[in-house]
Each structure stands twice: as C-alpha cells, then as structure tokens.
Assembly symmetry: C2
Homo-oligomer: 333 residues x 2
Amino acid sequence: MRPTIKDVAREASVSVATVSRIVNGLPGYSEATRRKVAEVIQELGYKPNAVARNLVNRKTNTIGVLLPQLSSSFSAKLLHGIEKVAQEHQYSVIICNTDSNGKRTMDYLNLLREKQVEGILFASEHLNEDYYEAIAAMDIPVLAVDAHSDYETIPFIKVNDEEAAYAAANYLIQKGHKSIGMISGTKDDPISGAPRVKGFLKALAEHDILPEPNLIEYGDFGFKSGYEAMGRLLKKNPYLTAVFAASDEMALGIFSFCYEKGISIPADLSVIGYDDTQVAEMSTPPLTTIHQPIEKMGVDAAESLIKLIKNEPVESKYVPFSLMERDSVINLK
Amino acid sequence: MRPTIKDVAREASVSVATVSRIVNGLPGYSEATRRKVAEVIQELGYKPNAVARNLVNRKTNTIGVLLPQLSSSFSAKLLHGIEKVAQEHQYSVIICNTDSNGKRTMDYLNLLREKQVEGILFASEHLNEDYYEAIAAMDIPVLAVDAHSDYETIPFIKVNDEEAAYAAANYLIQKGHKSIGMISGTKDDPISGAPRVKGFLKALAEHDILPEPNLIEYGDFGFKSGYEAMGRLLKKNPYLTAVFAASDEMALGIFSFCYEKGISIPADLSVIGYDDTQVAEMSTPPLTTIHQPIEKMGVDAAESLIKLIKNEPVESKYVPFSLMERDSVINLK
DNA sequence: TTGTATGCGTTATCAA
DNA sequence: TTGATAACGCATACAA
C-alpha cells in the first residue's frame, strides 16, 4: 500500500492538516515541524494522490484531444505542439483516436466528460450538429483545430483552405502553366475537400482558364490514392503541364507514378502539394507545397483552449499559410 | 453545477445507493425504480464522476506513455498501436513528451504516479539507472518499448537492432556489393546507435571485407544529418557502391545529396534504410529498407502492459523485423 | 502554530 | 428491494 497523508501525519505526530499545508506550501507551521514532516515524507516516499486532490479541488489539470487518426506525421506534429503548451501549463493530455467514427467520437466525448477533463481539442474533423449538441450539453470548453466550426461557442483554428488552394493554383499560373489538373482529397470532406477545389477553380476562372470537369480527380489524401488518381487524370488530360495535389502524400503518389512512366518532374510535369509535412523536403525533387504551420496550430490551439478554461475570450482564427518553393515546379515563361 | 448522484437520488426519491446500483448495472432494485431513475438521469443529463469513482475503486483505467519526441511518424505509429489496444481495454492514455530530457522524464514519472496511472510505457529511450530507481520506487508496472531494459522487472519489446543491421549489410553483400559504407545514428545511442553499427561490422567481417574506419559516418537519424554525413562519407570513400543508413530519414538525406550531385540511385549507388516509415514507400525510387513493425510494437507493448497490470507474467521479447525490398538497391552480380 | 471536522462524488457493506 | 453510512485521500473552514 502506498502511504497516504494520514500515514505521514501519524508518523510525524502531527495532523493531516499540517501535512497538507506543508505539502502545498501554505503557511501555518513552524520550521521544526516542517523539517520533521519533510523527513517523514522522504522516508515513506509519500506522494500526494492526485485523484483525491482532483476530487476536492474539482480540477483535473488535464485536457483531451480528439483526432481522426494518429499515425500520420501531421497528427504527430499537431500533438507535439499541443503537448508542449500543455506541459508548460501543467496540463496532461489524453489522446483519443476516433478513427473518423461517429460512435467512437461520441463515446470519447462522454468518457472525457466523465474523467472531468477541463477542455477538449477537436482536431481535423468536421464538427457536425450531433457533436455540437453533445458538446453543448456537457458544458466544457471545446476548440476545433485544423477544423471548421460554425458555432459561436466553439472557436476554430485552421488555415484558410480556399485561399491556400487559390494561392497554389495562382502560383502555377504565374509560372506560365495553363493546363493544370488537380487531385483533390475526399470529395465531400467539408474541411480539406471542397474548399480547396473551390480555391483552385477560382484561380483558374480569374485567369480565364476554362475549368473543364475532367481537370479534377479525387483521392483520399493518401499516397496510393494520389498515384491512382494521377493515372486517371493523365488519361483524360495528356497535355497537362502541372498538377495541384491537395496533400503532400498524394503529390508523392504523383511522383511515384511519373517515376514509373518515365515522366520527369519538373521538366515534363510540375507538381505542387499541400501541407508541407516532413516528406515534402525529403522527396526528390524536393516538393514545392503549401506550408501549413502544423505544430504552431497545435500550440495556438492549446493556448487558446487554456484561455477558454480560464474563461478568457477566444476568437476563431485563420493561421497564415505560406508557399514553400522547392524544386517540383518549373517556370514555363 | 453538474448534477451528482445525490441530485439524481433526490429527484427520483430513492437513495444514492440505488442510483449507484442502477448506473453500474448491479442487481437490487425493481424494474419500476430502474425506469424512474433512468428517466431522471436522462432528464438531468447526469454522468458519473470518474474522479470520485477512481478514488474509491483505486483504479484509474489510465496508462501513461513517455516518448522522447512526438513529432515523427515513428512516434505517431507507435502511439496509434498503443491507443488502439488501450481503447479496446477501456484504458485512456496520457502522452508525455520528455524531449530526451532527464529532468522532464523524472517529472513526468512523478506526475504519472501522482495521477495514479496503472502502468507506464517507456518508449524509444534508454532506461538508465536513475530512471530505474525512480520506477522501482513507485511500484507500478513499466514496460520499455522500442527500447532496451536490463532489468528483470521491466520487460522490453523491440526489434533486435544488431540482427537487423546485420541482415541489411548482408543483403547488400549478397547483391554483390563489396564497398559498403554506413551512416549511423547518434554514436552513443545504446539502442539504435551502437548495436546497428555492430551488426553492420559483423556482416562485413564474416565476408572478409575489411572494415575500414572511414566507412562509417555519424548523423542523428534526421534527414539533414543524412545529407551531410553522405557528403563526408563520399569524400573519404569515392568508390562506394552501397550505403546502409540507420534510419529512413537519413537514407532520404542520401537520396537528396545524390540527386543534387547527379548520382543516380540505384544505378550509381545502392541505398538501404532502416525503419520502413511511411516515407520509404513514397520516395523515388522506393526505398529498400529494414521493416520495423512499429504499430505492432505499440500493440504488443500495450497488451503486455495491461497484462502486467493484471499481474500476469510478461517476458521481454524481440519482435521480428523483415527486409522490405523495393528499388533502391541494384544487383551487382 | 496546530488540530478537528466536514465535504468532494462515488462504491460497498450492512442492516432493514 | 432498499437505505444509511463508512470509506477513498485530500483540502479547508473553523476552532483552539
């Protein structure tokens, strides 16, 4: 059995109240008893029980993070930023992989509430009405990160996907490309799907490039799907000079496809990605891509959540993206 | 204020004991009161407080995971496996980024103990004597994953680095390579550093290839360091036909270096990596590498830890690696 | 400077 | 089938 505060009190011949004061650095005891108690604590190897403490303080110093998956380097970076800030503020973080599964998400939401976490980060997934209602009912600060929220009470932190996609397409156009294809992520993904397509189309339209429907193929953000989508895209549009991929992984799928077919990047085809995950700088050639400040988003999100916990106001915000120029796009002019 | 079991009891005109029984599905009440209580619970939106529950049950259903960093896809995959199993067993997981920092590790160890986690996974870091003593003192199951432990009470789960490195070098030799360099990770890393060098050297020795000291350069497992080490390695050994990198990232650093210098892989130089992280299959050419079953290690680790928690015996074990043949090594014969 | 007593929200024992 | 009530380990108001 682990020693409790009572054991310490008995052993040191003082009351538990005194021990508690000493442990918590509160005033109200002589130096002599302090020394004595400290000695006993040391001797017994006493450590306060945070569960009991949390119960009386009604504070757990922990937050929960809901993620649709945690095997990607995107999740890892986001978590890294979150954990860092949490640690600085003495918060623990519980990770919850929802697998994009509605039931699991709900279950986790309930679990986190029961565990009395003080706040929840809802990452990379669409915050639908069901979730919103569950969240609203549990009366606990929630913040969406790398995700959009339509609700006043749930602020979000993300990059503006439409603008970023617009910037990517525009970049290609500025480099003289006119025949540009796109490999989008999941078609009906309201976060990273539709908005990026919209931005892409907007850039084309503004430069009077006819947006043929064949110019867009859909994948699932993953490497393999990029490879496959590229096959379909090129079949329908053999004269493409550039492609915008909605994720770096899909962009590398394009690389892989082209490598096999003997299509040289960027000489024969220019490619621009999205995310700027680790793989982007490591590819050959290095991938020009939209840089998302992933870790910083994690940092911002955690900081904002902690503000929310302290009842300080927090506003939704778009974090700035940037275009990371590397070597996968050629200038046609 | 959130409703407590007392509120439910009062509102339903029963005792808290009855509510507790109903909530926990224990026997001891009529169907009528069950219905009534369920109704009130629904109405009030009552959820049991896990903190209070944990206090009386002396069980938190929580484990902690200590990692030296969590921004890589390696950590992400490991976590993925861990979380999956934890979730299946109704355990929550708290993540702790130690940043390879001794003090932080100690602090986290203490925190986890205070939070009464039921077990700890110690990942990817050398379990030194200081840690061991702290762990031994806190009397809680600990298991090392992707790390070695010399202690009977702390089992480990990892791949046999020496054997895997031996297999990598041997593969190169079988393919007819005689002039083989290595880019190792951190020199004094007792887990992924020295053992891999040893395995490499052993393969060379067994085939009567003189292990010149210049044949090994050191990096830090990261992309950039691989790039740089490759520069040094090639300067000292211009006639290398193959290189073994102790991590995929460093292997890609080699790719990058060769791409710039116009050295073609695998035509001019063969490269074999280590880890088989996501980037390996996404590179051009796809990287031949030592496959570590990272996610499975996470799964095994979590399952073993839970066994440990249940006081079931657990043995240390090496998980099998495999050699993933892709296109970065050429057959010289 | 110190101790007593109460409560935090549960579970579980015991009696009814 | 039910209800008091004593823990669980701690913090704190209040009394001394």
